[in-house]
Amino acid sequence: MTKNNYLKTLVCIALAVVGFSCEEKEEGPRVQPVDLSLHVVYGTDFNGQSADGVNVTLTNVTSQQVYDGVTDASGQLILEGVPSGTYDIIARKSYTASEFEAFAGVSTDQEEVVFNASQSGFTISTATSAMALTLESGRVGDLVIKQVYNSGSDRVEGALFRDQFVEIYNNSNDTIYVDGLYVMGALGKTSEGTGAGYLGNGQYDWSQSIGMAATDDANENYLYAKWIYQFPGTGEEHPVYPGKSIIVAQTAVNHKAPFTGNKGEAVTVINPDLTVDLNGADFEVYLAEDGGSPLESDINNPDVPNMNNIFAFGRDFILDNPGREAVAIFRSQTDVLSLPAYATPNVTEIKSTTKLYYQIPADLILDAVEIQPSPTNQVPRKLSTSLDATYTYVPGGSYSSQSVIRKTSKTFGDRVVLMDTNNSEADFGYSEIANPRGFLQ
C-alpha cells in the first residue's frame, strides 16, 4: 500500500469510528462515466438496415464537451468513458448521386443525398448505456431560407429589433416564382414545460390540444403557426432567378439613416455600422393599417410590396431576438385560413378570447430552420428531425447585429449553391453584421 493510501485508510477509519454527524447526508449511487453503445439504422424506406460509415457526434448540452465516432459495418459504435449527463446526438451520412444509386438502387436528381438522425436532450447514465438512431433523408428544396436576422442591433446605438429580416434564396438553376408562398414562424414553448400537455423535452404535446382531430402524430407531422405572412401575386408576378434571393423586411428602409416614423418623429441610430440598409428589400410587412397599436417604426415603403398579413404576431414582423425562433416556408393549395387551428395544449377551456394556432402539415414545408439562443441555454425544439436535424444560433446573442446565414456548398460561375442537408448546425454559420444578399466568407 502506498503512503498516500495508508494515510487515506487511516483517515477513513478514524472518521468512520467517530460517526457524530448531526446532519442528514444525501445518499445515492456513484456517478460513473458510461461506455455507450449506439446502433444506427436506416428508416423503413430502406428496410431498417444497419448503417455503416455514419458520423455520430454527442455534445454534452451543459458542458459542450464533444464525443464522436463512426459506425462500423454493422452500424455499431461504442464510445467509451462518456460522462453521465444530457446530450444532443447527431448522426449523419451523405452520398453522392452515384453512391446513392448504388446503395438505393434508384437514381436521384440531387447532387448529394444526406441522411440525418438526431436526439436532443438525451440522458446518458449507467441506466441508459445503449441507444438506437434511425436515419432519415429530409427534403432538400429549390427554395431555401438563406439568412435570418433575428438578433437585431444594439439597444442604445443600433436599431434595436426594427431592422430584422428573412432572406429566401433560389438554390436551383431554374427561375422560381414566390407568388403565394407562405413564410411562417413555428409556435413553441420558450421554456421547458412540465406535466400534462407537455412532451418529455418540455415542448407542447399538441396531441392533447382540445379538439385535436389529427389521427396521425400531431407533433411530428405538423407545425403550429405563431405568425404567417404570404407573398402577394397571382402566379408569375414575383420571380426569383437562380442564385438570387428575396428579402422580407420588417420595415424596408435604410436603417443606417434617420427616417420619419408613423407618428411623425425621427427614428435614428447612433452607430449606423451596427445595422443594415433594407431600402432595397423585396417585400416588407406593414401592419399599421390592420388595426391595433403599430410600432412607430412600422412605416410603408411605397416602392416595396407588402406581404399579405395572414396571421400576425405582435405589432410588426418581430422575430424573437434572443433566438427562440423556428422559421419555415411552405406552399399550400388549400387556403391556410381554412386549415384546422388549435389552442395550446395547456388550455383547458376554449373561450371567445382563446387564441388558436393554425396547424400546418409538415409535408407542405419546403424548408425550415431551428434557431436557439445558445448551445447551453436551449429551449424545447419546435421542428422535427426531418425538417431540421439540429439548430443554429448567433454567438453574440440579442442585439448583436449578427445573423445566421447558410454556408456556400459550391459555385457554378456566378451562381452559388448553398449547403442544404436539413441540418442547420452543418448548413449555417453566422455573419458578424447581418448582410442582406451577401454570402458567408
Binding site: T2, K3, N4, L7, K8, L10, V11, C12, A14, L15, V18, F20, S21, C22, E23, K25, E26, E27, G28, P29, R30, V31, Q32, P33, T62, S63, Q64, Q65, Y67, E80, G81, P83, S84, G85, S125, R155, S191, P373, S374, P375, T376, N377, Y393, V394, P395, G396, G397, S398, Y399, S400
Partner: protein, 502 residues
C-alpha cells in the same frame, strides 16, 4: 484566535512566571512567544490562563506577488491592509476576552473564481478571464469563562463572527456577501493541581450569497467564451448554463477535548477536535432555485504543545495533525461524484540555551498529502509534499532602550508520490486551464527564505513593536515540462506593521 493566543502568551510570560528563566525580554517577538501564541490554546477557556487584563492592537500592510508559475486561481498580486485589536478583562469572577480585525484586501488577476474563496468544496462559479477583487473582511471574537466550585470547574462560551463583502471589478462581476457565526461551549475540570481537562462543542452557520453581472452587456453572450460562467461541479465536471446568482449555505458541528496545564518545568496543551460540515450550493435565476450539489467535509485536528524551561535551556515541541475527508452529492447527476482527501503533519522543535546568549534555534518538518477525484469526468490527482526548515532569531538590546530582533528562516520543499489520471478524450477547459497548472505547480521543488526584523520598546503605559519582513520563494532544479518556459521566481512578499500592547 491567534490574537487571543497572543494574549495568553503575554499573561503566561509576564504573570505566571513560567518564562522567568528566559534570559531576554521576548514577550512579543521571540520564536517561543509566537509559537505559544499560535499553538497554546484556541478555545474559549484560554482567557482563564491569562492572569492580567490587557489590550493589544496593531496595524500592518502586506504585499505579495506570485510569479508566472502559479495556479490560475491565485492572485498575481495581493495587498492587504489590516487593523486589529484585542483584549481581556476580568469583572468579578467573569473573564471576558475579545478580538476584532478588519482587513482590506486587493487582489489582481484571479481566474476561474467567481466566489468568495476556493476551498475543497467542488461547487462554485468560475470563468476564464482573470479579474481583480476588492474585499472587506471583518472578524470579531468573544469568549467568556466563569470558574465554579472553587475553581475546580471552568465553564466557558465563545462566539466567532465573520462578515465579508467581496466585489470583483472586471466583467463578469460578482458581488458577494458572506457571514459565518460559530458558537462554542466548553467545560474544563481540574484533574490535578494546575492541570485541566476539557470538553468542547461547536456549532457554526454560514451563508454566502453572490450575484454576477456584466457591465458590458455583450459579455453576456455565449460567444464571449472568456466571460461565460462555469458552474464547477467536481474536479473536471462543469455546467455552462448561464444562471448568475448563487447561495452557498453551510453548517458545521464539532466536538473535541484536551488538556492544559503545567507540571514542574513543563507547560503543555493538547487539543483534539472533530468537525462535520455540510455546504449546499444553490443556483438561482428568474425560473427559480436549482439545487446543484451538497459537499460534506469531515475534519480532524490535533494540536500538541510542550514547553520545557530550565535555568540552562528551553525546548519547545509543537506538532499538528490535520485530516480532512470530503465527498458530495450532485443533484444534477443524481449521485456521488467527488472525493477529497487531505492529510498534514507538522512538527517544530525550538531550542535556546543560556550559554548561547539570546539566540533561538528551530527546525521544522511539514508533510502534506492530497488527492482529488471526479468520477464522472474521470479526473484524478494525488501528490505529497515535504518541507524542511531551519530558523533562528536573536535579540539585541540597544542603548536607546529599543530591542532589535532579526529572524531568518530557510526552507526547502519537495513533492513526491505524484499521480495524475485523466480519462481518454476527457480533457476539457478545466483540465487544461486549472488542473494542469495547479498540479504541476505543486510538483516544483522550491527553496524559501523568510527574513524579519522586529523592534520593541517599553514605555510607561504601553509597549510598541514595529516590524518588517520579506519572503522569497524560488524554484529549485528544472521546472516541469508544463512550465518549462516559466520563471523560477515563484513568490515574493513584503510586510510591515506596528503592534501595541497597552
Amino acid at each position: 484566535m491567534r490574537f487571543i493566543a497572543l494574549i495568553t502568551l503575554l499573561c503566561l510570560l509576564n504573570l505566571t512566571g513560567l518564562m522567568a528563566q528566559s534570559n531576554f525580554d521576548s514577550s512579543l517577538v521571540s520564536i517561543q512567544a509566537k509559537n505559544e501564541l499560535f499553538h497554546f490554546s484556541h478555545t474559549p477557556v484560554s482567557g482563564y490562563f491569562q492572569r492580567y487584563d490587557f489590550g493589544f492592537s496593531g496595524a500592518n500592510y502586506t504585499s505579495g506577488k506570485y510569479g508566472e508559475v502559479k495556479s490560475p486561481q491565485l492572485p498575481q498580486k495581493q495587498q492587504e491592509y489590516q487593523f486589529f485589536s484585542q483584549g481581556k478583562r476580568t469583572w468579578n469572577d467573569w473573564i471576558l476576552s475579545g478580538a476584532f480585525s478588519y482587513t482590506k484586501q486587493l487582489q489582481d488577476s484571479i481566474g476561474w473564481k467567481q466566489v468568495r474563496e476556493i476551498t475543497s468544496n467542488p461547487y462554485y462559479f468560475g470563468n476564464i478571464k482573470p479579474g481583480n477583487w476588492n474585499n472587506d473582511l471583518f472578524d470579531a471574537q468573544l469568549a467568556i469563562t466563569r470558574p465554579v466550585w472553587s475553581k475546580r470547574i471552568l465553564v466557558s462560551a465563545g462566539a466567532d463572527y465573520q462578515l465579508e463583502n467581496l466585489v470583483r471589478t472586471n466583467d463578469p462581476r460578482p458581488t458577494i456577501d458572506y457571514y459565518n457565526l460559530e458558537l462554542k461551549g466548553q467545560i474544563s475540570f481540574q484533574v490535578l493541581p494546575e492541570i485541566f481537562v476539557y470538553g468542547l462543542i461547536t456549532r457554526a452557520n454560514s451563508s454566502e450569497k453572490g450575484g454576477v453581472k456584466n457591465y458590458n452587456a455583450s459579455n453576456d453572450s455565449y460567444g464571449q467564451v472568456e466571460y461565460n460562467l462555469f458552474t464547477l461541479m467536481g474536479f473536471g465536471s462543469y455546467n455552462l448554463q448561464q444562471k448568475r446568482n448563487y447561495n452557498l449555505n453551510g453548517q458545521a458541528n464539532g466536538f473535541g477535548g484536551g488538556v492544559i496545564g503545567k507540571k514542574g518545568a513543563f507547560r503543555f496543551s493538547n487539543e483534539f477536535q472533530l468537525t462535520n460540515s455540510t455546504e449546499n450550493f444553490i443556483r438561482k435565476n428568474s425560473d427559480g432555485d436549482e439545487q446543484i450539489g451538497e459537499y460534506y467535509l469531515r475534519a480532524i485536528r490535533n494540536d500538541l504543545f510542550i514547553h520545557y524551561s530550565s535555568t540552562d535551556y528551553m525546548v519547545q515541541l509543537i506538532s499538528g495533525i490535520k485530516l480532512d475527508q470530503g465527498d458530495d452529492y450532485n443533484f444534477l447527476f443524481r449521485g456521488l461524484n467527488y472525493d477529497y482527501h487531505h492529510s498534514a503533519i507538522s512538527t517544530d522543535l525550538v531550542f535556546s540555551k543560556e550559554s548561547l546568549g539570546t539566540w533561538e534555534w528551530g527546525v521544522g518538518v511539514d508533510y502534506s498529502s492530497l488527492s482529488k477525484q471526479d468520477y464522472n469526468a474521470s479526473h484524478y490527482i494525488s501528490y505529497a509534499t515535504i518541507k524542511a526548515s531551519v530558523y533562528s532569531q536573536v535579540a539585541w538590546r540597544l542603548k536607546s532602550g529599543w530591542q532589535l530582533s532579526p529572524q531568518l528562516e530557510l526552507g526547502f520543499q519537495k513533492a513526491m508520490d505524484e499521480e495524475v489520471s485523466i480519462g481518454a478524450n476527457q480533457e476539457n477547459d478545466f483540465t487544461r486551464m486549472v488542473l494542469y497548472p495547479d498540479y504541476y505547480t505543486q510538483l516544483i521543488s522550491s527553496a524559501e527564505i523568510d527574513a524579519r526584523v522586529d523592534f520593541s520598546k517599553k514605555f510607561s503605559k504601553f509597549r510598541i513593536n514595529p516590524f518588517l519582513g520579506i519572503n522569497q520563494t524560488l524554484a529549485v532544479g528544472e521546472l516541469p515540462t508544463f512550465w518549462e518556459s516559466g520563471s523560477k521566481d515563484l513568490f515574493s512578499s513584503f510586510q510591515l506593521g506596528v503592534n501595541f500592547v497597552h
